[in-house]
């Protein structure tokens, strides 16, 4: 983890942990927004690094397989009208659910890759960093929900029994979907938080 990321995470993680009853949601929203923006810069790099290590067709230039999805991972795409109409609670709980699933999936993908590509510390480090940032964002969202007085959704184990029988190729595909969806959900989180930021100005 590069030092700036460390600092960033520490500063963003500490307020929700220390302050039990924040008075205004503006500060946690702003912090979450900053982190999401920072994450957004690195998502495409993670995807490219991941694909590069998987061989053809993944490493082929312009590879894209939008039809590949994971049932355990909620899709980030949504109809605009529906998305815009979401209230704060729905919006935040959807995002939180997604990032909760993503943290678990990123851990799974990192495990898979340490098995397949033990000699690729760069990829493994990037996957680890992405998972930490996703956890950081989860913490920030929890702080916002606390600030807004919203009920916290229960933590679920999104990965059930699906993971272990997968073949090598399926695991490569799974990793692709996870890293791709991580990017999509980060993009969506930036939009979500921008909306909240506008709604709750400092």
């Amino acid at each position: 983890l590069p030092p700036p990321a460390h600092l960033c995470l520490l500063t963003l993680l500490s307020p929700p942990l220390s302050s039990a009853a924040p008075t205004s949601p503006a500060e946690p929203i702003s912090q979450a927004y900053s982190l999401a923006l920072y994450m957004q810069k690195n998502t495409s790099m993670l995807l490219q690094t991941y694909l590069q290590y998987q061989g053809s067709p993944f490493s082929d230039s312009g590879f894209s397989a939008p039809e590949l999805q994971l049932s355990s991972l909620p899709p980030a795409t949504a109809f605009f009208k529906t998305w815009r109409a979401l209230d704060d609670g729905e919006r935040l709980s959807l995002a939180q659910g997604a990032f909760l699933a993503l943290t678990q999936h990123l851990q799974l993908v990192r495990d898979d890759q340490s098995d397949l590509n033990p000699g690729s510390p760069i990829l493994l480090a990037q996957l680890g960093t992405a998972r930490l940032r996703a956890q950081g964002l989860l913490g920030n969202m929890a702080a916002i929900m606390t600030a807004l007085g919203l009920p916290m959704p229960p933590e679920e184990d999104t990965l059930e029994l699906v993971a272990f029988g997968a073949s090598a190729f399926e695991r490569k595909c799974r990793g692709y979907v996870v890293t791709r969806e991580y990017g999509h959900w980060t993009d969506r989180a930036v939009r979500d938080l921008a909306l909240l930021k506008a709604k709750y100005p400092a």
């Binding site: 998987q54 061989g55 053809s56 067709p57 993944f58 082929d60 397989a65 039809e67 590949l68 098995d115 397949l116 590509n117 033990p118 073949s167 090598a168 190729f169 490569k172 595909c173």
Partner: protein
């Protein structure tokens, strides 16, 4: 058609009933049909697993049976495999058998059936096959799931070079499916509308992370899905190479091998191959933790023979190698230690070492290597525990490296590593006399001898040379010999010896002692033998010299020369029977002149100069051109000269000169030849073959013409450098003539002018003396002093000339007259007022109206008062004009002398005329009263005119002749001074 169908049906039914009948009969006779056939699948191994039982087996009886198995694919009639399986069958036994399918089982339905026959000796009767069991169908496709596309086999592990069949199942036949192996499309065989199989022959190893094979389902250009597999291709496991075991201590056997390629694959699909050591005599086994070595503990002292099998194994293959050996034959000793040297002296040393003891009475073979002076010696020696070897014939003062290695002497298996140590032998006295030579410089009264010697080679020095001893011994006079020690790096010394014969001994000394002496004798006679220098031609390899043998006994010859540019004396010794040698060193440089002197060494060791040679290893063209002067330029010729050019200090022997001449004329001069210059221009060339001829007259030239010349020396290597031509223009003919005439003329005129200038006074006196102006006479002042207002100067016209009386002159008168004259002169000189005439008189206004003649017969006192005292001196006469007469005394002396001379010159006796002034006569006897009465003459009495004219002539004008003669006679210039 209908009839045919009916017939066919009838035929099949008949056939079927017949077969049923037959089998029933057989079953009755041999009711051992396989029953309860169950088929299961193993997706990973792609295998069908069959299990069945045999009914009706006798209780507690074993029978050897053969089972035939048929496997069909897709439909029962498509039999793809038939095989037999023999086994012994017990009562109530469940039999198992597996079959591995090339095609992934997921891609096609398989059907299996089985039949049996007894193949046992206890059933001697001819046996018949049982009935086939019913077809058992195996289909995995139904359990695949909902995906639109599947690719099989998943994560298959194969060995490099094997054949693999992959297949896909596409749920929707409208989808177009393309499959790729590492990005390259592959083409397969369609098994049914949903299934296509691809046969990959001899799959290559690409990477240990596996090979991606994927298929893409699409409709038109729209991708519907992607599915793939990773094929793990393993390298083929190699047999371990160079497997061997040995012991160093009889406790542990150390076994090593070369493992070859690591067959590990990613994704935990296959770890690195494992190695297991198995010893068959003891039956023990050990899994090795390292991939290329393993230690085996020796537990039983009694076991001597070992039979090891090394087994390499991975998921796909097992390989093994075997060795059988006697333990005592595989003893790899530990390295020898404590290598030391004792009693080291100049030529030998004792080397000692120790060997780790293994067992009692063990003998070792040791090998010693001695490295020194670029050589290597090897010795073998047999030892027990302590090794010792006497190293002899060593070189003194030399560093050696000695090392030793050992092995089991009884059963050679392997040498140990080398154990070594350096040592240096002690010094010994130098073994050879230094090579000495000398150069002698003879000076009056003594010789300066410079001794040179070459450092001894390491072989002969036997140590570090510390100093050289030079002993000088006078051979002519008994005297003490003189010893000089010169510290070592020096290689020369200078001796000043008187004119006696000397013997010089030179020895080189190190810390141990002195070398044999090198002896040179310097004879009393200097080397003044004139030897002519001979020119020789060198080559790149050096100079080849040969000389005439010296008469008498010689002990050898020496050739010496100087190296340039260091100017170091070099020499070469040549044997007595040789009269030629080649001097070759790398130091010879092209264009440098080397002088060689060849000496003969007499038996008395006196060197005698025999020959001199000089030459160049390679002659070069001259480096510079002479500075040429143009002389004697006339309209038709000029002379070129370069006397200053030195022919000696050139990079080659100067053979002559080339003179290049360019002119407008197309024809060359008679002695010149046409030549083309390097720049392409034409000119005329004249070659001078004598290097000492350093001038050339170029003649037959045209007046007023422009010529260019260039002089360059040449050696055998070529001419001097190109330089610019010097331009010369010949003058025209007339101007030269004019110059010939004009120059002397101008010179003459100048000479005359200078003479005239120097003698201007004399000329003036001679040619146009000043005529005294009576008005400016001092008499006038005297008159004025007497305040005579009526004083006038008498005009000539006023004078009435008198007659001249010629009187015969008696001898006595002459003498008297001379005596008188002398006294007069003395009187004159004593008069101080006479001197005022000498200083310069300014603004002399030309000759006055009176002419004064002096007459010796006349009273001088009167003459003094006259204006004859006026001397026309050039204004501001420079002091040089006066010369010695700057002081009044000198002036007076000179006057006296000259005056006397002039008097002497006058031969009074020859004069036939005597002048008698008509005015002076009354005063002639009254000398004493002269000073007091000069102002009292009567009218016009001052003019003392003498005339030597015949009486008959009445007052003739003074002729030129008479005046001239008078001048000549009296020499007035001299007189006035």
């Amino acid at each position: 058609m209908a009839l045919f169908v009916v017939f066919q049906t009838t035929f099949f039914l008949t056939l079927l009933s017949l077969r049923t009948y037959q089998s029933e009969v057989l079953a009755e006779r041999l009711p051992l049909t396989p029953v309860s056939l169950k088929v299961s699948t193993n997706s990973i191994r792609q295998s069908l697993h069959l299990q069945w039982t045999v009914h009706n087996l006798p209780y507690h009886q074993e029978l050897k049976m053969v089972f035939q198995i048929q496997i069909s694919r897709i439909e029962t009639s498509n039999v793809i495999w038939v095989g037999n399986y023999s086994t012994t069958v017990k009562w109530n036994q469940v039999l198992h058998w597996s079959w591995e399918s090339e095609l992934p089982l997921e891609c096609a339905t398989h059907f299996v059936r089985i039949k049996s026959v007894i193949d046992d000796a206890s059933f001697p009767e001819p046996n018949f096959w049982s009935n086939w069991s019913s077809w058992e169908e195996v289909s995995v496709q139904d359990s695949l799931g909902q995906s639109i596309l599947f690719v099989f086999p998943k994560d298959k592990l194969v060995e490099e070079g094997s054949n693999v069949t992959i297949c896909y199942v596409s749920r929707n036949i409208q989808n177009n499916v393309s499959c790729y192996l590492e990005g390259k499309q592959i083409h397969g065989e369609q098994l049914d509308p949903h299934v296509t199989a691809f046969n990959l022959n001899s799959v290559p190893f690409i990477r240990n992370r596996g090979t991606n094979i994927y298929c893409e389902a699409s409709q038109g250009n729209v991708s519907k899905g992607i599915e793939g597999i990773v094929l793990f291709v393993s390298k083929v496991l190699e047999e371990p190479k160079d497997f061997s075991c040995e012991t160093q201590d009889f406790k542990t056997l150390h076994c090593t091998w070369d493992p070859g390629t690591d067959t590990a694959l990613g994704w935990s699909k296959q770890p690195s191959q494992s190695y297991t050591l198995f010893e068959s005599f003891s039956g023990e086994k050990k899994l090795c933790t390292h991939k290329n070595w393993c230690n085996w503990q020796i537990t039983q002292d009694s076991q001597e023979m070992y039979n090891f099998t090394l087994i390499a194994e991975n998921y796909l293959r097992k390989r093994s190698v075997n060795i059988l050996f006697n333990l005592t034959h595989r003893v790899y000793l530990m390295n020898p230690f404590s290598v030391n040297f004792e009693n080291v002296n100049a030529t030998n040393a004792i080397m000692t070492w120790k060997v780790h003891s293994m067992r009692n009475n063990f003998t070792y073979l040791c090998q010693i290597e001695l490295h020194g002076e670029g050589k290597m010696m090897q010795y073998d020696v047999s030892v027990n525990v302590n090794g010792e070897y006497f190293l002899s014939e060593l070189e003194p003062a030399t560093e050696y490296m000695a090392r030793v290695r050992c092995a089991d002497a009884s059963h050679f298996w392997k040498w140990t590593e080398w154990s070594g140590q350096n040592f240096t032998t002690l010094e010994a006295a130098p073994s050879e006399a230094p090579d000495v030579w000398r150069s002698v410089n003879s000076e009056p009264g003594n010789h300066t001898v410079t001794l040179f010697w070459k450092p001894l080679s390491k072989l002969h020095a036997n140590g570090k040379i510390l100093f050289y001893n030079v002993v000088v011994e006078n051979l002519d006079k008994p005297s003490r010999s003189e010893l000089r020690s010169i510290p070592a790096p020096a290689n020369s010394t200078k001796l000043i010896l008187d004119k006696c014969s000397y013997q010089i001994c030179v020895t080189a000394n190190n810390s141990v002692g002195a070398s044999p002496a090198s002896i040179i004798v310097i004879s009393a006679d200097p080397e003044n033998k004139e030897v002519e220098e001979e020119r020789i031609a060198g080559t790149e390899g050096g100079f080849s010299l040969s000389w005439k043998p010296q008469p008498g006994d010689v002990i050898g010859y020496v050739v010496d020369w100087c190296d340039h540019p260091q100017d170091v004396l070099q020499w070469k010794n040549v044997g007595p029977n040789t009269t030629s040698t080649v001097i070759s060193t790398d130091a010879f440089r092209p264009g440098v002149r080397y002088d060689f002197r060849i000496y003969g060494l007499s038996t008395k060791r006196i060197a005698c100069l025999l020959e001199k040679k000089t030459g160049y290893s390679q002659e070069l063209a001259p480096s510079d051109n002479p500075h040429v002067l143009v002389d004697m330029l006339t309209s038709h010729s000029f002379t070129l000269s370069w006397k200053d050019y030195s022919t000696e200090s050139q990079p080659g022997f100067i053979q002559g000169y080339h003179v290049y001449l360019k002119s407008k004329a197309r024809q060359c001069h008679p002695r010149f030849q046409k030549a083309v210059l390097s720049d392409g221009s034409e000119c005329c060339k004249y070659t001078i073959d004598n290097p000492e001829e350093k001038a050339l007259i170029v003649d037959n030239l045209k007046p007023e013409s422009f010529y260019e010349f260039f002089v360059t020396p040449f050696t055998s290597a070529g001419e001097g450098p190109n330089a610019t031509f010097t331009k010369v223009t010949t003058p025209d003919e007339h101007s030269s003539m004019l110059i010939r005439i004009l120059l002397p003329m101008v010179f003459c005129v100048l000479l005359i002018m200078i003479v005239c200038y120097l003698k201007s006074q004399w000329i003036k006196e001679t040619c146009y003396p000043d005529i005294p102006d009576p008005y400016k006479s001092s008499i006038l002042s005297l008159i004025k002093f007497k305040e005579n207002p009526h004083l006038t100067i008498m005009n000539v016209s006023d004078c009435i000339p008198d007659a001249i009386e010629v009187v015969s002159k008696p001898e006595g008168t002459k003498i008297q007259l001379l005596g008188t004259r002398k006294s007069l002169t003395e009187t004159e000189l004593t008069k101080p007022n006479y001197l005022y005439l000498l200083p310069t008189e300014k603004n002399h206004s030309g000759p006055g109206p009176c002419i004064c003649f002096e007459n010796f017969t006349y009273n001088q006192a009167a003459s003094d008062a006259g204006s004859c005292g006026h001397v026309p001196v050039p204004p501001k006469a420079p002091p040089s004009m006066l010369g010695l007469m700057t002081s009044p005394e000198n002036v007076l002396k000179a006057l006296e002398k000259n005056y006397m001379n002039s008097l002497g010159e006058v031969p009074a006796g020859e004069t036939s005329l005597n002048y008698v002034s008509q005015l002076a006569s009354p005063m002639s006897g009254d000398k004493d009263s002269l000073p007091t009465n000069p102002v009292e003459p009567p009218h016009c009495s001052e003019y003392k005119m003498q005339m030597a004219v015949p009486l008959r002539l009445a007052l003739p004008p003074p002729t030129e002749n008479s005046s001239l003669s008078s001048i000549t006679l009296l020499d007035p210039g001299e007189h006035y001074r």
